[in-house]
Amino acid sequence: MENLVYIALFAPLVSSLFAGLFAMSPRKTFVGVVSSLLLFISFISSAVLGYHIATTGANVHVTMMDWISVADLHIPFGFIADHVSVTMMVVVSLVSTIVHIYSIGYMDHDKSFNRFFSYLSAFVFSMLVLVMSDNFAGLFIGWEGVGVCSWLLIGFWYHKPDVSREENPSISPSWAANEAFIMNRIADLGMLVGLFIIFWSTGSLQYDVVFSQIPNLAPAVLTAAAMALFIGAMGKSAQFPLHTWLTDAMEGPTPVSALIHAATMVTAGVFLVIRANPIFSVTPEVSYFIAALGTFVAFFAASMALVNRDLKRIIAFSTLSQLGYMFAAAGLGAYWIALFHLAAHAFFKALLFLGAGNVMHAMHGELDIFKMGGLKKQMRWTYAYMGLASLALAGIPPLAGFFSKDAIIETAFNEGTLILWAMLVITAGMTAFYSFRQVFLTFLGDERYKEFGIHPHEMYGFVLIAMSPLAILAVIAGFFRDWFNSFIIHLLPNYEMSENTHHLALILGAIVLVVAVSGIILAYKKYAKGLKRSEKTENGLIYKLLINQYYIPKIYEALITKPYAEISKLMWTKVDMRIVDATVDGIAKFIYKSGDGSRKMQTGNLSNYLNWMAGGALALLFIAVASSVIG
């Protein structure tokens, strides 16, 4: 079993290095094939490990090496496959395998094909380090690793020039990549502080050691640690107010969006909260804040998705919204439900994104859904996949989203937080509306793309086949809820609805269902027959507010970016040039001068050297004798 852990972990690394070997050479299909195979091996190992853990209930814990052990600092570097991490491993390796295969088709015209696979596999490796590590240090290393890979992949088409915000809201791939990286750095600082607090108060970063120490810690320390950790999670999972990077990250190739910015990396924040649940469950204030913020983000992101015209951005907003759901569940203590929604969401959201990729591929990079319509004829399979994924996302039974999202909403009711519950229900309606608005505008109605002279075509067959496991899982994953519950409670605290909620479960489910279905019907009425734009709505205040993402990117620019640039400029011209530079120059000059001065002792003349030596010896003798006489 230990070997399987290593295989699951290192197969993606091997894949990355292998593809990296060909990074400079022209496109080679076998690079993609080999990478996909290695990823598949990783998936199989994860699945076997999962089976092993499910049947025996025993964790597989390996200590790879003692990373640093000097005196009292002891950092072993190990990996663990337990119930939580094996769930993540299976999800990550499965989605990545499919995305790898998908990319062979999607990236077939890109000249940096091989480089892409190298980055993508490197990401998977980092992600597995993140989820499999048995300590916070390893988690942090993986955390930074996925950040770097995300930066590389968002900026994959770094050669595209910067344009204005009006033309492209995310300016350019490199701008978006930098934005994502910087926002994450801000949050990582919080995370580091959290790790320091933990290490300082418990003397260890090992999960088991840290968690066993919790009863001995002061509540204030725990609250501080939980808050700092959650700030890290907010950055990675793009929670308000650090959410702007996620929609801009759509500048990356679509398989990247599917893998990193929907299914895996962005859920790392949720994973962190689930992993560290012993800390969060003893800090109710922080947990409640997480739940409230999650609910707010779910609502807030869904509202922006209502009016957006960009296919990928709509899905990105919906990802944000679903991450909000997960945080709501985790914050309310239903960790296993959060993890379950995480897994289900990974399947249908990846499917949705890959479908969007097909559309984008067919439309030659066009993403505006107002310019599509009627694609059903050409892209039957993609339509089916995206329709299925949207049904799952909207929470229509018996698809996966219904079971997982319904459980979250039920939890909110069960906890008595009725405001959260109401917001989540409304969000469910909005989710259904925007998902189907997008599906209908893309696939039904008049064929608006003809004006632009585009000839869409269906994606390659093998790509469609590769997507089928995701489609199947999007349909059936929900049925495993009770099984998953009994599996995961070995590690995570169980969460059960109270008697009262249990009685009302049917009614509650019906309410959510009615709201969701009415959302779909509304979308059908408005968009299925074709696009009818109304000047009045589009000029309305709310529409403007939503389409401009509540003006938050502009506010950030006006309040943070611009003043920061101004201050930097001021600091540069006034403080830096006049004071700092002058001081540094002065010191440098002084050191240089003294270097030149002492250089003179190096005359090159042997006689002088010998004099230095003899003189030095005499001086030392004198000092020694003098000091021993005095001392």
């Binding site: 090496m65 003692d66 990373w67 640093i68 052990s69 000097v70 005196a71 440098a588 050191i591 240089y592 003294s594 270097g595 030149d596 002492s598 250089r599 002792m601 190096q602 090159g604 042997l606 002088n608 050297y609 010998l610 230095w612 030596m613 003899a614 003189g615 030095g616 010896a617 030392l620 003798l621 000092i623 020694a624 004798v625 000091s627 021993s628 006489v629 001392g631």
Partner: protein, 495 residues
Amino acid sequence: MVTPIQVTVQELNLPLLVPMLIAIAGGLGILVIDLLKSNLDKSLYVMLSMIVLFADMLAVAGLTPNRGFFDLMLVDGVSIVSQMLIIVASMLFIPLALTSKRFHEFSYPEFFALFLFMVAGFQFMVSTDNLILIFVGIETASLALYTLIAMHNRSNSFEAALKYFTMGALAAGFYAMGSAVVYAVTGSIELWQVKEALSISSGADSTIIAVTGGAVLLLVAFAFKLSLFPFHTWAPDVYEGASAPLAGYMSIVPKVAAFAVALRIFNIYIDLGVESVRIIILVLAVVTMTLANIMALVQEDVKRMLAYSSISHAGFVMAALALGTTKGNAGVFIYYALFMFTNLGAFTMLWISRHKKLMYSGRYDHPYEKFAGLIKIMPIGAVVMALFMLSLAGVPPFSVFWGKLFIMSAAVDAGYIKLAIIMGLNSGIAAYYYLKLIVYMFLKEPVFNVDTIYYNISKPLMVIIGIAVVATVTSVFFFDVLLTYIYTMISASGF
């Protein structure tokens, strides 16, 4: 009357001598082969030397700490660790003879024979606590080294060898006189007996003066070997005059050997609480690292800059020795184990770009201008060199960083906070001149013709550089193993 010495063969413990005997026999073998058939290709001698060194290494690996050979030999952890470092560095050095261009010294089989004798000398030096054998070891190694330098056959090399030789002779005088004073005070030339005698000696003023005086005389001899201020003046000139690989070798192996002996000798004084010796060592160390750093700053030649930087590193390590703690003593060897690969790699990069004639400036082989715009001429070479520079500057996670970190934490543990701060400041200054080369390589336009650089490269050299790069980059992973090994070895020897 002196009673005749009676020992059995078991007590002689001859296996302790095997590693040195292998090296000496190898050297003699090379001379004999040359007598039988002259004008054999240098690659044969390189291979023979490698085999001998490998056998030597195996023999060292098989040693168990013990005394032997009329109690002259003392093989303990310090001895085994430093012999290992010496042999590994030698094995990295020897293949550098296989350059694509012919250089004078490597066409002589005597070069390899002398080299092996030198290795044996260093091994003797670290495997004894008898002042006679230490002296014999030092001189065997040094005399061979002087000759090796001179064999580079340039007027600068002769001058370098002569300067080194003359100052070495003076240092030998100090060593002999220092030993005589120690002998006069304690009546013994065995260090363990010296320690016993000193610990029970009277506290009279004259005794203390004699004790510290002897220590200072010995210190002068070792400060010369370790290139500590003001006995360092030979080092830049000798490094400049010697061939690049030999200069790199000199920055490692003689210093490891000298540190091992210095540890044996001065640890006695530090342990016995002779504070003046400790203070003198600390002052020398601090002045050395600072002064060498600021002098490195103003150099125009990369090799000479590396010479000053090696002096500065030696000063850094000397400070660890003065701490008198096990952590500090282990730090000496850990630092050199990590520094070895990076520094030899950097000097090898110079060797690769070495021309037979001076063509860049009137005096220097490797002026900074030569490396200007190297990224455009030889991207991989520039990146590798930059890697070595970053490592030397102590940038994490490269090898030297861990050494610096370890020694600085040893200083803090021993209560020398100020020393640790000075060390940190010095690393800051040092970063400046290493980065200067990086700036030249990456940001400036090429000054010299493209195809005149990388003139001397060959497969064996590339392998050595590859090893150095791997060791420098992956030090994160083996640092802990190395640390544990060296730490246990040093602490088991009682230091």
